[in-house]
Symmetry: C2
Subunit: 362 residues, 2 copies
């Protein structure tokens, strides 16, 4: 297997001595730190990964040292901030050109690296790191597939778990419970469970008082985390018999999602895929109600580098994993989103989430 440090340096054309990735305090952790180290357990606040072309090393607190050494990574352990500074100084002063991840490194830690390296040139390689992360390696794919499998199985059991009268947080509790029973290490993110009009808010948080009522849309957007890699799936149901308008919305979103999936293959532009979905919606009577991009990268973080979007156009490539998730949102009425995770292949894509897309009733 090719190591992550080899992958990272293979996409960096600039002359660098090392790449230094540093976590701040939760939630400000660098997802590249976890990508590069492959560490599955532990929080690693204030810890540092140093990547050289064929070598990786972690400077870690004692708190996390067991997790790191279990993973077979070379580590230096610090006891406190002073001690960490001493170790960083010793290691970093060997370098004159250091790559950093400006998209995730905090301003404070940037200053610290600058100082402790004795004034090395710090060069932003966040674009290159993103590029490296976009193409998934076999060990990453294995974990993503497992996370997708857990979320798909959970999704298929929603009609058995959720019924009229249940609150959004109760339904969210059921989803997470099922995922964890199926082997998830945790939910990948705060699930969206939105009933009725709230399904029109894409990032809505479940309410402990809002109950499912007949005629409501019920939107579930959730995912599993498995050894730090994640899945992200959305399905929308209707409580009781759907109205004509609900059917129209659902069918339009489904058509848009399938058009996007059909358009995906190695070499195609993300903007073209986004357009495939958007065209379906914008040529319907729900024109303009698809208010976000079609998809995003997925991996060690829920919003991994990469997107299917007209604004941030990029060429899709074999080995990328992306979400495909068009939606229609009607303020004060409700919304529908259908989301799958796909692996881009030479001549198309492989859908990694397997849950039914029929319009189902709860």
């Amino acid at each position: 297997m090719v190591s992550k440090e080899e992958v990272v340096f293979s996409v960096i054309s600039r002359d660098l001595d090392a790449v230094v990735l540093m976590n701040a305090v939760e939630p400000n952790l660098d997802s590249c730190f976890f990508y590069a180290t492959g560490l599955t357990a532990g929080l690693f606040e204030g810890c540092i990964a140093i990547l050289e072309p064929r070598r990786i090393e972690v400077i870690t607190s004692e708190l996390e040292s067991l997790s790191a050494s279990d993973a077979g990574i070379k580590i230096s352990v610090f006891e406190n901030g002073q001690d960490r500074a001493k170790i960083m100084k010793k290691k970093l002063s060997r370098y004159s050109k250091i790559g950093i991840n400006a998209r995730e490194l905090t301003v404070s830690n940037h200053k610290l690296i600058k100082k402790l390296s004795g004034g090395a040139r710090l060069i932003d390689v966040s674009k290159e790191l993103s590029r490296a992360r976009m193409i998934k390696q076999p060990d990453e794919l294995t974990r993503i597939k497992k996370a997708c499998q857990i979320a798909s199985k959970t999704c298929d059991s929603i009609p058995d778990m959720v019924e009229e009268g249940m609150t959004e947080t109760e339904a969210s509790a059921e989803l997470i419970y099922r995922m964890m029973k199926l082997g998830a290490s945790s939910p990948a993110f705060d699930s969206t469970v939105a009933f009725g009009a709230k399904s029109a808010e894409p990032h809505y948080a479940p309410s402990p008082t809002r109950r499912l009522r007949k005629g409501n849309f019920a939107l579930f957007d959730f995912g599993a985390s498995y050894k730090r890699y994640v899945s992200d799936i959305t399905r929308t149901f209707v409580c009781g018999p759907p109205s004509k308008r609900q059917k129209d919305i659902y069918e339009t979103v489904l058509e848009a999602q399938e058009a996007a999936i059909d358009a995906i293959e190695d070499g195609v532009s993300g903007a073209v895929v986004d357009e495939a979905a958007r065209d379906v919606i914008d040529s319907s009577r729900f024109s303009g109600r698809f208010i976000h991009s079609t998809g995003h990268g997925l991996g060690v973080s829920v919003h991994d580098p990469g997107s299917i979007s007209s604004a941030n156009d990029m060429t899709l490539m074999e080995g990328m994993v992306l979400t495909v998730e068009p939606g229609i949102y009607i303020n004060k009425y409700g919304g529908v989103r259908i989301e799958d995770d796909v692996l881009v292949t030479k001549n198309g894509c492989r859908v990694l989430t397997s849950c039914s897309k029929d319009m189902r009733r709860l």
Copy 2:
């Protein structure tokens, strides 16, 4: 109620036109953004909060605009990155001195603010922001107390939920399920459920294959998130009858934790409280096995500003909420940690988590 922008400006002695808080992509969100806005729902990636002494405004994507306007905050909505730049330019170019949160702002977003403000002076006010956040306001305390209540009730039902033979992730699933049924919006962080030797790893992640066996320590470290404010509790149990050594470890940790709680009051140094706990452990036969600090701040993030630590000494003040969580960790054998959340008061502290601290069997 005093607004958060008033609180923030009351601790900033420097002459500033505004404080600008900007989120990057999940997980790199600025917890001060959520502290200042009080927003309970939504992700707000790439969104910006602008604080003036008596005014707060949020620049948000359309995706989150409903969540923000529901909260009654003044918002400007952007459609894409270009649009956001235009709005930022218009708003920020009015300022010549802008406070930033260097501890959570990414290097990329720092550059963007610098550019779009037309070269305003960016002044790091992260210390002041931390100071503001440390003293909890009544609206924050209400949410924290609810989060503590949910975690405490859940903790008290562990002996009914967890039994010999269960895996760590199954037990973790039960915890989260119970918390959410009790009204948590989500788990506050990835729970640690650690059986046997793994209880010696403070930030261990639950395994789907590791089962609870007779004689094991079973350590549960978890918390609830309620309207974005969190609780954080740890209890350690024994499966079956405890050994003499287990009892010794447990009693030493409990004594250390109670010594720390007894030492807390307005005006006392965190280092003194840390020492109170550490002295108990270091004068026992488990000397040196308490490998982290005694506690940390708690609020809108799990590791909120503030600590009970010798390395980062600070004076505890009325209104602070902190964890108190000494532990003893013995590599390849196991560990015990007992953690409560406390509110510092004039003459002592109020323990907000209420779960029993007796040594209990599973």
